[in-house]
Amino acid sequence: MARRPFDPSLARGGLFDAPGESAPLSVSQASERILRAVEGIGRVRVVGEVSNFSSPRHWYFTLKDDESQIGCVMWASRTSGVGFVPATGMEVIVTGTITHYGKGGRTQIDVQSMERRGEGLLQARYEALRRELDEKGWFRAERRRPLPAFPRRVAVITSFQADALQDVLKTARIRAPFVDILVVGVPVQGEAAAPAVAQAIAAVDRRADELGIDAMIVTRGGGSIEDLWAFNERIVAEAVFNAKTPVISAIGHESDVTIIDFVADHRASTPTQAVMELFPDRHAEGEQVDSLSGRMNRSVRRRVEDARRHLSMLARHPLFRSPRAPIDLRRADLGRLAVRLASGTRATHSAARHRLADACARFERHRPSIRQAAARERLHSFDARLHAAARRTLADLRGQVSAADRQLRLLGPGETLARGWSLTFAADGSLLRSAADAGAGQELRTQFADGSVRSRVEPSSETPSSTLFGPHGG
């Protein structure tokens, strides 16, 4: 925009020549008119690149784009509100009024406020995307996947050159050297960063099973909002949202919250923190294993001791002290029964005999012959009753005997026979209970403990002994 030499012919009818006005304006007058004209433009917002920045106290600089430039001044009273110091090459947006400085012959912007270009724009984009995704429910806590308690392998998506990567590796080495790491290198700032990060997240997720990856950390160190911008891009948020593998984000410093932090399953404030939260601590794990091992040892020891105690308790039971104990118990019962049987029989017979003697005595007392017949009658009846009573008693006794016999059979007669008893059977195998049952010439079998003998009954005139169950001599 080189200034052309003044040419009055061109000036005629020009901007500042009022038609029909012949008197020329002074420079100051012209300048004054320019000032009035530009002030009429009013307040403007202008975006451009800073150049020729100087700041003795007030800021002087030029704002330019590819084709034009315009001078700017910002008084010291206003610069303190800016929050940054412009530098050559920086894109800024200034707000102010256009003015004309007559002494310098410059038309310039009197800057009232300044912001970095993109800052407001980015902020607005950030807010818009955050609101949109929030409304879609992408930030809801319940859709966050839990982090694995003990990841086998973790992918770290970051720049190979990043300090963040060194922080991650250092912490992981100390905390959990048993967790494998796959570093996935991506640019983390600049135009290429967002698509590359999104691609890497999707690739890790797609190949997670194949590569044995249980979680991923997406990280980079601190920087300006532009530096971190990739992590505010929709494409990255979508990759995280679509991933099935849990994602931990650790972008910038504690105060930097990017969109990925909202979508990620877990947000860590720093790369180191991400490792602390994802990687199990070897010492804590070791303690847990020790504790489980101790519990198991105590438990099995208790189990074995219980079994041992139970065993020795069983061994102390009387049944196990002698294998013959139950038989001995039964034998004692049987002996008592036999004694009762014998004494019972004797008592019955002696009572009967006593009553017979009594009857005889009374019979003697009633000797008179007229009563003889009646007395004889009564005697007969006594006799019949006596026999009936004896039979009844015998029948009862026989019942007891056969009960005892059954019990005897249950236990086996061996022991009893060994004590000298014997059993005598008729030819038909029935047990002989009375001498009267042994008819002359009958063949008998007598069972002893150690065997049996056969014999034949000799004819005899002897009456059967009434003391069948007297002390048995053999």
Partner: protein
């Protein structure tokens, strides 16, 4: 009670058992260990089962300790692009 050990901490080191347990991840091993202990503590298992489970639990403990004692961390690297293209991480990149 045929092979009841005299000591309550038998050292079986059954190689077949160890090999079986070595295939488990740390988490799987811990989880199974906890299940075994809970069963044991309830005292519902027969003595012989307890001893058999103890042998397995012992192998699981050794497996877990072996994992935790691993000193060398395996670190591999790959660029995001190559990963996406299906390359394996051992492509010889050494950017550190």
């Amino acid at each position: 009670m045929s092979k009841q050990p005299r000591k309550s901490t038998p050292k079986p080191a059954d190689p077949a058992l160890d090999a079986e347990v070595a295939a488990l991840s740390y988490e799987e091993a811990i989880e199974e260990l906890e299940t075994i202990i809970e069963r044991m503590e309830k005292g519902e298992t027969a003595l012989e089962d307890s001893l058999r489970e103890y042998a397995r639990g012992d192998a699981l403990v050794r497996r877990c300790r072996q994992v935790l004692d691993q000193a060398e961390q395996r670190i591999e690297t790959i660029s995001g692009q190559k990963l996406d293209a299906g390359a394996s991480p051992d492509d010889g990149e050494a950017p550190f």
